[in-house]
Assembly symmetry: C2
Homo-oligomer: 407 residues x 2
């Protein structure tokens, strides 16, 4: 930030990970932009699946590989380099700019949110800009106008008080692993719909025109399936894949464990079994209400032979934006200049709680311009960022901020 | 063994863990007994649940705590101490005795079995004696005449080729954790019966008299439930708990894992999910046939959205003995002398593959005299052996071997 031209930079301590905040307000009469990003990353495990070490950035095949290159440190860097260029050319930034980088995006943004609540005046801006999303594909610069919300849960089931020998006790005692399996088998029906009563009650229906526009995007099933590489596909009946990914809520198992996981055999009936799972939410769904419905249904489904500790680790609202507003059109034009390609308006299946919170708090447009690609392994081993998008992104963002001076 | 009076002792190298063999054949005209035990133990993990370290034997509350005290090193020691006493009193052992201690009982006894096949003449005996089972309860010395067999399986399910971001991909791709849950939910019906077609086909029916005798044993539901400490109980419909544990086959999950298991949240759809599970088998069931039926059914139940690697880690036959034979009566009398309590004939739910193999090979009686208690945490943290049983066991076994000289 300092080398980009910022002079006012703070590291703000929090209960967990500090925030980094910088601002430059030397463009009187010009718009003020609040740029948001995050420096925290998903766990790098399993480490042995990385081709090169997760925290040693390595250039290979036109990509840069490291945890955080796509999500989100590499994308933050695009903005800093664009701003640095503008500062070097003009001796000052063409607009007023505030930069807020947090360290808890992957775990619910709690400290950030406290900071925002206490610094509403300081953070006030005409628009919020975020680069923490993906392009639709290579050569398709994209502006994201919709995100799913995220609730994350953890449960612990306890059957026997202690681990038991499966020979001595097997056949007459409850196995919490089996209870866990039975529970999750009941959380989807055969049409891949979530069985939690009330789960879909308030889901906002999209207009026919919007569904048509989304399905007409140059979204490639071939690229999608190559990126996933599964033997087969499944999803909620009655919706296209793009709709399943962007405008439909889900319930997804993120981790399961219990019993013996080492080499060979251990004939144990474990005392406890664990699961981490999450629900992706879409406009209309209230995260607090969904969390209550999920817990209620889980407790109802479980047999009386196990006890359940149910934790809601985080909740996050869904979001969508009126993408016809002028700033979105400026962003589209700037992307065209940076990439020499027409930019499209898309939605995304992931979640950025901050976007929703900022939108609710400041009621200003939020422009999400992503430079990641869907197959860049965000959250997985060998995460990377395509360098061509990195460089085109810097050009596009420089045009965008320059152009906003005339908004 | 040396201090017990044996002079001929060998350590027999194998492909995995060596065997220990000793013999004393200085009692011409007297019966020859082959005593079998094992020095290998179940993994001690999770280590943090041990009150004192797993491999530092500690006496507490009249018990000795350490991995292997009950299963099976402590029980082997009872025989060595009894033999040492007899040798010190008589200057020689009263019978011919062969001792075979293996190191692979918990992982299928492969090396042992190769050794037995190549050394049939050397190992020949009039009876086999094993102490690797449990007493029915405190104050109830027991002779086990039936064991369940054990097949152990591991499966690996693969959905997407790599771990995926559950926001970006959730809703339109297969989740192998969900497939695993659905699979295991389908392997039991509502009556807790295993759904594998043909699983129960050849199960040998017990006579009414034998079922009556088993159900009349001083088996205590209270002790059982105190040992297990589960919020509720379940088991195959139509059978008593004792029958569920001893004479009915089971399918049991021993371990499940996949996805994120660390602190907090990771929004991942994992590429792979794993399970370890086992079937306990009863007389009439053929382990090879059951393994084939289980694999076939698992593959049939799985959706086409995941691939499955299916491994049979080990197979083991069930066993039961004609407990009216004279040597069993001698054992019962010796136990009465050691414990001042009437000994009972019981079955057990666990598996000792060696017993079956020896029985099939040598066609001699196998006498299983257990000194463990059901709640001594065999295979779990804080495994222990009740010292009163240890000392009474030494007395009983000394009487037994002494008495066999007159058989």
């Amino acid at each position: 930030m300092r080398s980009a031209g910022f002079q006012s930079i703070e590291i703000v301590p929090t209960a967990l990970h500090p925030l980094v905040y910088a601002e430059s307000l030397n463009a009187p009469g010009k718009p003020t932009i609040l740029f948001y990003g995050h420096y925290d990353v998903q766990p790098a495990e399993p480490l042995h699946l990385w081709t090169t070490p997760a925290f040693e950035p390595t250039v290979r095949n036109g990509n840069i590989y490291a945890r955080g290159t796509a999500d989100d440190k590499g994308q933050v860097h695009i903005h800093l380099k664009a701003l640095q260029a503008l500062h070097q050319i003009g001796g000052e930034f063409p607009i007023n700019i505030k930069i807020l980088i947090e360290g808890e995006e992957e775990v619910g943004s709690v400290s950030l949110w406290n900071f925002v609540q206490k610094n509403k005046e300081k953070l006030k801006a005409d628009a919020l800009v975020v680069s923490d999303t993906s392009m639709l594909g290579k050569g398709v610069p994209s502006i994201t106008y919709g995100l799913r919300g995220l609730n994350y849960y953890q449960i612990e089931l306890t059957g026997p008080r202690r681990d038991l020998h499966s020979g001595v006790y097997g056949g007459a005692v409850p196995n919490p692993l089996a209870a866990l399996a039975e529970l999750f088998a009941k959380l989807h029906d055969k049409n891949f719909r979530v069985t939690v009563p009330g789960f879909y009650d308030n889901v906002k229906q999209l207009s026919k025109a919007e569904r048509k526009a989304l399905n007409a995007l140059p979204w490639s099933r071939k690229t999608f399936q190559e990126a996933v590489g599964a033997p087969g596909y499944c999803g909620e009946k009655g919706f296209t894949t793009v709709e399943q990914l962007w405008i439909r809520p889900t319930l997804e198992l993120n981790g399961l464990w219990g019993g013996y996981q080492g080499e060979g055999a251990k004939t144990v009936i474990p005392s406890r079994a664990y699961a981490k799972f999450s629900t992706r939410l879409v406009p209309g769904q209230d995260p607090q209400r969904i969390a209550k419905l999920v817990e209620k249904h889980v407790r109802k489904l479980l047999p009386k032979t196990v006890t359940c500790k149910f934790e809601v680790l985080s909740t996050g609202k869904p979001w969508s934006a009126p993408y016809h507003a002028p700033i979105f059109q400026r962003a589209q034009a700037a992307l065209q200049k940076g990439f020499n390609q027409k930019a499209v308006f898309i939605r995304e299946g992931g979640s950025i709680p901050f976007v929703t919170q900022m939108y609710d708090t400041f009621e200003v447009p939020c422009v999400l311009i992503g430079f990641g690609l869907p197959d860049e392994n965000a959250h997985a081993p060998d995460e990377h960022l395509y360098l061509e998008n990195y460089f085109s992104g810097i050009k596009a963002i420089a045009h965008f901020y320059q152009d906003l001076a005339t908004l």
